[in-house]
């Protein structure tokens, strides 16, 4: 091979060119100018609305501060200490874990079951799809109000039910043991349609041939679901589980109209806890600390989930 071959200018095929080489050869295809033009707006917005508030919360979480003026009363880790010792926070964390569990093990299977029943494109199925999706479209606060009326033992649906059954009216949202069960029921009702839609979209993408081939091979419906449909929509299930977990960590606006965290602080989630004990009581420093904890939990879950599930699902 002659060292003076003209191809030397462009370097041997297969070797990756360095950035400076590419720049010199004009091989960046306008990617660099595109980056320079398109990146700053996103970067600025992200910094303004995500990074700055986050940094601020982190800073405030070390102060005893009511939100007015400049924080001066530095208390170190005291806010975190108080949270760690607060029994209501323990209940809130427990409740959040319960919501995650119910979302994963009750809501998702329910959504999958319904999706399997109605994923094919027929007019009846379109109707049921709409009906099941309606709760998701409804504003959280409205949903909370509707259900607080349903559960109301004096005037609500449960009152009429108790009357027609001839039993004593039951105030489930005021019951220490059962209030959170009611809350979780509403959560499942509100969000299963979202997961169902993800599954329906994925199921519609499964080639009908695969199902027919399985039928010919002798697979019955449950086996088709188990061996063909579910493996085929696994990426969608992984994504929906991710939304379920992250969503469960953030449940807030359903609970405020339903129970407002009561009775005796039994139905708080991490976010309603933050709202009640941080914001409404003007403990901005304390609330910020809760926010920081929540953020760390969420980011940890997200990173681990991506690492262990999403990657494998894609390959």
């Amino acid at each position: 091979m002659a060292a003076s071959a003209p191809s030397q200018v462009y370097s041997a095929p297969g070797r990756r060119l360095s950035l400076t080489e590419r720049l010199r050869l004009g091989l960046n295809n306008g990617r660099i100018s595109a980056t320079l033009i398109l990146l700053p707006p996103a970067l600025i917005l992200f910094t303004l609305f995500v990074m700055l508030p986050l940094g601020e919360s982190f800073y405030y979480s070390f102060f005893n501060w009511n939100g007015y003026g400049v924080p001066t009363d530095f208390v170190g880790l005291q806010n975190y200490q108080r949270i760690a010792d607060h029994s209501v926070f323990h209940v809130a964390v427990g409740n959040t874990v319960k919501i995650v569990a119910v979302s994963l093990f009750l809501q998702m299977p329910l959504a999958l079951l319904l999706a399997l029943l109605i994923y094919r494109k027929t007019p009846t199925n379109a109707f049921f799809r709409l009906v099941f999706f309606l709760p998701y479209i409804l504003a959280e606060v409205a949903a909370g109000l509707i259900w607080s009326f349903v559960f109301d033992g004096n005037y609500g649906v449960s009152a009429s039910l108790a009357q027609s059954l001839g039993t004593e009216p039951f105030f489930i949202l005021a019951d220490r043991d059962w209030a959170f069960v009611a809350v979780m029921t509403v959560i499942v009702w509100k969000y299963f349609g979202f997961h169902m839609m993800i599954y329906i979209a994925a199921l519609q993408g499964v080639p009908e041939d695969l199902v027919e081939a399985a039928r010919i091979e002798g697979a019955k419906r449950p086996q088709i679901v188990r061996y063909v449909l579910v493996p085929q929509i696994k990426p969608a299930i992984i994504v929906s589980a991710f939304f379920a977990i992250i969503g469960a960590l953030q449940v807030f606006d359903l609970i405020i109209p339903l129970t407002n965290g009561g009775p005796s602080n039994q139905t708080h989630t991490i976010v309603t806890y933050l709202y009640t004990f941080g914001l409404t009581r003007l403990n901005i420093g304390f609330g910020s600390a809760v926010g920081v904890i929540l953020f760390i939990v969420a980011i940890t879950v997200a990173v681990f989930y991506q690492r262990f599930f999403m990657k494998r699902g894609q390959s």
């Binding site: 091979e217 697979a219 086996q223 063909v228």
Partner: protein, 336 residues
């Protein structure tokens, strides 16, 4: 081994009738090929035999047994789809094994059957791969492997080779013919491809708009097409269909003559014609001409014949190879 019989089968989707009334017998152990234009109902017919579609009326019999109401898996059939329909999340081995596992066949026997299929189809080295890591031809073999391990009585193929390139198609065609010889089951095969139909079939079924135009061995369809449709459909290049006036017969609506049955002369003949386009294929030369007062005529000549576009020539059809079709479009009994 089993004969497949369709009796008065009608298939409609809503108020669209795809197959009006069809009767067909596929003999035990035969290789029967269904051909016909796109949308004529070949796939629908095959799926009806498979049990993936329920006939609107009529019966499907396999091995003398009425299976019209049976599930696909109880009919003793297997099907190879045009798309192969392999399970992407399973390995080749699991794909082939799937039906056996569902049928709860003992592991030892399953292993044996999968190994045998892998040997027949030369898939031994690929058993641990997933379909996404295979070439088109290999996927095709896996799909066939999946159907042979179940030892079905009837194999159904819906255009199994149409996604392959020409060379691979030829190779797989030979392999399918060998497979049919070695396992000796009934095979029903849908294709668009003339060559596949002529080379693979013991019996060709020509369909048109949900009806059967003609059933018979390949050479019979080639030599004595019963309708104008079959005449135009079987053979490549297509048979020339000319008005009866070409041979001065009023009672003949259409006269057919294959491109290989026309003599060409520079000095004299029955029809004067001008050459439009000449295709030199090596073994053959195909000339597309326009005959005076008759229209387009295609002629097939030996490869060594050299023709130029625009050349004025005379064509003479071979008398004994004329096909005459009457006013009803059907073949006339008498010879020309």
């Amino acid at each position: 081994m089993a004969e497949v019989r369709l009796q008065n089968v009608n298939k409609s989707f809503g108020n669209v009738t795809v197959i009006p009334d069809l009767n067909l017998t596929v003999p035990d152990g035969s290789f029967t090929v269904l051909v016909g234009p796109s949308g004529c109902g070949k796939s629908t017919l095959l799926r009806t035999i498979a049990g993936l579609e329920m006939p609107t009326s009529g019966q499907v019999l396999i091995g003398g047994e009425d299976v019209t109401l049976q599930e696909p898996s109880n009919r003793g059939i297997s099907m190879v789809f045009q798309s192969y329909a392999l399970y992407p999340h399973m390995t080749v081995e699991q794909n082939i094994d799937f039906g056996l596992r569902l049928a709860k066949i003992p592991a030892a026997e399953r292993k044996e059957r999968v190994a045998e299929a892998a040997r027949i189809l030369a898939l031994q080295d690929h058993l641990d791969r997933r379909p996404g890591q295979l070439s088109g031809g290999q996927r095709q073999r896996v799909a066939i492997g999946r159907s042979i391990v179940r030892h079905p009585k009837v194999f159904l193929f819906d255009e199994p080779l149409s996604n392959l390139d020409a060379a691979l198609r030829t190779q797989m065609r030979v392999e399918l013919a060998q497979l049919h010889q070695s396992i000796d089951a009934t095979m029903i095969y849908v294709t668009h491809d003339q060559v596949e139909a002529m080379t693979l079939a013991d019996q060709i079924v020509v369909m048109n708009a949900g009806r059967i135009e003609q059933v018979g061995p390949p050479m019979e369809l080639y030599e004595a097409p019963q309708t104008e449709f079959v005449a135009s459909f079987i053979g490549s290049p297509k048979m020339n269909l000319l008005p009866g006036s070409a041979i001065a017969r009023d009672d003949v609506r259409t006269v057919g003559i294959r491109p290989e049955h026309i003599l060409v002369d520079r000095t004299g003949g029955d029809w004067a014609a001008r050459t439009q386009v000449v295709e030199t294929l090596g073994a053959d030369t195909i000339a597309y001409m326009v005959a005076d007062g008759l229209g387009d005529v295609t002629v097939r000549l030996p490869g060594h014949v050299r023709l130029k576009a625009g050349e004025q020539l005379y064509l003479t059809p071979e008398r004994q190879n004329l096909h005459l079709f009457g006013q009803d479009g059907r073949r006339m009994k008498e010879a020309a």
